[in-house]
């Protein structure tokens, strides 16, 4: 990521020097403050007309600045912070660069212009900011709560909103409140943007199978939240014409656990187990995304051995996540057997992971500056045990699924997304590579030593479910290559950095040295303080790009932690993929997107 602030200079020359105030951050992303009335023009220019073509709205979030401690002028932008800050994080594939614009908003419940006319994907991001902060967006098509229940009072990520149950009143549900809840849950199509009888609002693509206009009675069907096919608690509201889907609206938030709010209550170190549970199939990958951001803030250098161990575990979890996907996707289309085979392989994989980390799916094993412990003796034979015969079995699974004509008929041409649309909506990961675009953050923006590994980026053409399936099978093979290379070339050395400003010193030292013991005690109980600043780190998680944006205020906890997850983005394009298809196709598409609900809702 080496776009010089040339982009900011161009922006300043367009908007005027007074309008653009550059801020230094701990990552390499050019960041600037822009006034509220000029941000829409700035973003539109960046998206379309700038040299770098920032076509992707990578993230849109907000920060509640009202409890800030650190106010150094140079570091944090001329003290121009208002009560709230809107952060727009844009990405450009052509220039392989990012840019971040921040807008200061004043007032208790400020508002800003919407950018959903520039990027369609801004829709859900703005709804989440509204839900969490109470910031309104002028011109937004449907500004309602997205994660919290519709009748929730308050906006959770605001600093005055309580974080712990003990800070709130004991929960009671009297009759009238229950009735009010039930009434709020009643389904009224127009509230969801679904009209009852006309096609005009449906934005149907040009489709020869489209049912012609006329007065048709549509069937509104709830898929979920209790449904075997949605891989979790997800509610999809379907507007059906017979079995053909006219519109589908995802209702998310059933899995929301307030992970971002919890970050403000935990220290940087104690937050690590929370990250495991965001994408619960990817284990260590979540830790890595979070810790890369923290290490940028603290300036910690991770030793080489720790980096290779991190890569080894990340790739093992990528294989684990894709194995689950093979099983569940096969099951979605009716092949009930592969799930048992892949889970058996996954058990062997977890034997390795458990021996190394002590945990299976949620190891919480990476630490600031490295990993928690060194690799145990005998890890290599265990790994070989897993790898033995696995590629042959993988080939069998591929034959069972991709080689099967019924499967191909179910997935070819289903849920097609073009590359342009994928880029516009912010799709990343295997879903993007299935459109024929060779982009992998491990290759394009290497982290944790990935540039030293030899592997390929699998792609497929068509952007349909079959292409996504093919890409994932091939990704497992490439991960196996990386695992073998990491295991064969494991360097000697430290497994964790020696920097004791951000992590506890080794226990052995605390037993002989009183200073170290005091340091350890204070650090573990109070929390190590990370110097003030902000940083973002994004990795190629198994589902797509997973990014953590941390704002540190000089205390032991993050001031604001934003988790940008791939599944949130992918669920947003679901209507685009599923409209005009059958319910059976919807299930196939849901499976092929490979989302995890905890990843969507956090």
């Amino acid at each position: 990521m080496a776009a010089a602030p040339a982009v900011l200079e161009s922006l300043a020359s367009r908007l005027g020097d007074q309008a653009v105030a550059v801020q230094a951050t701990k990552d390499d992303i050019p960041t600037a403050w822009v006034p509220r009335d000029q941000v829409h023009a700035a973003l539109a220019w960046l998206a379309a007309d700038s040299d770098d073509h920032y076509r992707v709205l990578y993230d849109l979030t907000a920060i509640d600045e009202r409890h800030r401690q650190a106010r150094e002028a140079g570091e944090n932008g001329n003290g121009r912070r208002g009560d709230f800050t809107l952060v727009y994080h844009l990405m450009s594939y052509s220039a392989n660069a990012d840019v971040r614009l921040k807008v200061a908003l004043e007032g208790e419940y400020p508002s800003a212009p919407t950018v959903s006319d520039i990027w369609p994907s801004a829709n859900w991001y703005e709804r989440e900011v509204f839900d969490m902060f109470g910031i309104g967006f002028d011109g937004h098509p449907c500004l309602r709560r997205i994660l919290m229940p519709l009748d929730w009072e308050g906006h959770p990520l605001r600093k005055e909103h309580p974080a712990r149950a003990t800070e709130m009143e004991p929960y009671r549900l009297p009759e009238e409140q229950f009735a009010a809840h039930e009434e709020a849950l009643r389904f009224r199509p127009h509230e969801w943007g679904l009209s009852d009888g006309d096609w005009a609002s449906s934005n149907l693509p040009d489709d020869s199978n489209a049912v012609p206009e006329g007065d048709t009675d549509y069937l509104f069907l709830n898929l979920g939240p209790n449904h075997p096919g949605t891989h979790g608690l997800l509610r999809l509201i379907l507007k059906l014409d017979g079995e053909r889907i006219v519109d589908v609206i995802p209702d998310i938030g059933f899995h929301h656990r307030g992970a971002e709010k919890m970050a403000e209550q935990q220290t940087f170190h104690t937050y690590i187990p929370y990250t495991d549970r965001i994408d619960y199939l990817s284990g260590v990958n979540n830790n890595l995304a979070y810790l890369l951001a923290v290490e940028k803030l603290s300036g910690t250098q991770v030793p080489e051995r720790a980096q290779v161990i991190r890569v080894l575990l990340c790739e093992l979890f990528r294989v684990a996540s894709h194995l689950v996907w093979i099983g569940t996707f096969g099951h979605d289309v009716g092949a009930i057997s592969p799930v048992f085979f892949t889970f058996t392989d996954r058990e062997k994989l977890f034997d390795v992971v458990e021996a190394i980390t002590g945990g299976r799916m949620h190891p919480a094993w990476l630490r600031i500056g490295g990993v928690a412990m060194d690799l145990p003796n005998g890890w290599r034979p265990l790994l070989d045990e897993f790898l033995k015969g696995f590629e042959k079995r993988l080939k069998e699974y591929e034959q069972l699924l991709i080689g099967n004509p019924i499967f191909r008929a179910r997935t070819r041409g289903v849920g097609v997304i073009s590359l342009d649309e994928a880029i516009e909506w912010g799709v990343t990961g295997p879903n993007l590579r299935a459109c024929g675009f060779e982009w992998d953050f491990r290759k394009k923006r290497p982290y944790s030593g990935y540039d030293q590994f030899d592997f390929e980026i699998p792609t497929a053409d068509g952007g349909d479910c079959l292409a996504r399936s093919a890409v994932r099978f091939e990704e497992i093979r490439q991960s196996l290559r990386i695992i073998r290379q990491a295991a064969d070339n494991m360097p000697a050395g430290d497994y964790i950095a020696d920097d004791h400003t951000s992590m506890p010193p080794a226990r052995a030292e605390t037993m002989v040295n009183i200073e170290t013991l005091i340091h350890h005690f204070v650090g573990v109980s109070w929390g190590f303080t990370i110097p003030a600043g902000e940083a973002h780190a994004g990795i190629e998680a198994p589902k797509g790009n997973n990014g953590y944006y941390i704002v540190a205020d000089g205390g032991p906890s993050p001031y604001r932690l934003r988790i940008r997850t791939p599944s949130f983005v992918h669920m947003q394009i679901l209507p685009r993929l599923a409209r005009g298809g059958l319910i059976a196709d919807l299930i196939t598409i849901l499976g092929s997107i490979d989302y995890v609900l905890a990843d969507i809702d956090r």
């Binding site: 092949a335 069972l400 019924i406 319910i583 196709d585 299930i587």
Partner: protein, 320 residues
Amino acid sequence: MSAHAELLTRMAVTLVVLLVAAPMLVWVERRLLARFQLRLGPNRVGPFGILQTVADALKLLTKEDWVPPFADPVPYVVAPMILGITVLGAFAVVPFTASGAIVDLDVGLLFFLAMSSVGVYSVMLAGVASNSKYAMLGAVRAAAQMISYELAMGLSLASIVLIAGSFNLHDIVVAQQGLPYVVIQPFAFVVFVIAGLAELKRAPFDLPEAENEIVAGFHTEYSSMKFALFFLGEYLGMILIGAIATTVFLGGGNGPFLPAPVWFAIKVGLFIYLFIWARATLPRFRYDHLMAFGWKVLLPVALLNLMVTGALVVARTAGS
């Protein structure tokens, strides 16, 4: 008197055998499916888990017998009964002994086809009477699927009737004493097996009950004994299709050394194995592919087969 006694004995024996065989078949399927999936299957309740289905049946019997308040009560209750009656009734013409079936109907094959057609009503009634969206979707899918594939099934059987010269199942078995019809009518055989799978709503044609999509399809709103009847009806149907396929294509109870019922059971067992194997391996057809396959592939093949068979039969009788 003795004819009546014999009839009653046959009916009783058949009924007992079937009502034991269907739960056994559930156990077989669960164990076999488990073996395909590298696991064990139920092996705790009784030796090798044989009593598992008994335990499940007891559980279902003790469940609350509930008719949903939003459902239409009479068709809701009658629907599973129809299934049970038609499937059990069709067994009356299956010749699993050397001397024939319970009833020696001259239109035996037609009777079987008629019974399976009436069985479609049970599915339709169940779905519509449940008054629930998922059930309706499932019922519509099931009805369309069953009707489409029944055509192909009937046509494939028609070729056999041409060759055997009779609808009487016992006569068909006797006519195969030289050579089973599967050898001279391979296309009809394949069409019949595939259509039979679709008729049974079993994988890969189990769209009407695709759990992932429409929860449980037409029997979403059913519980306890009524659900058990649907369940049992499906397994009895498996035995029925296997039995008809055996009778018509594999020569029924024909075979050396062993008595006819044993050979019959072995051959039906082969078909059961095939059905379970198909379920373990194949993904499920999407609705429109299924209809396209039934109408554009199976039906023409069956028709063509019938025409060619007819021509050959005419040529043979004209020549001789």
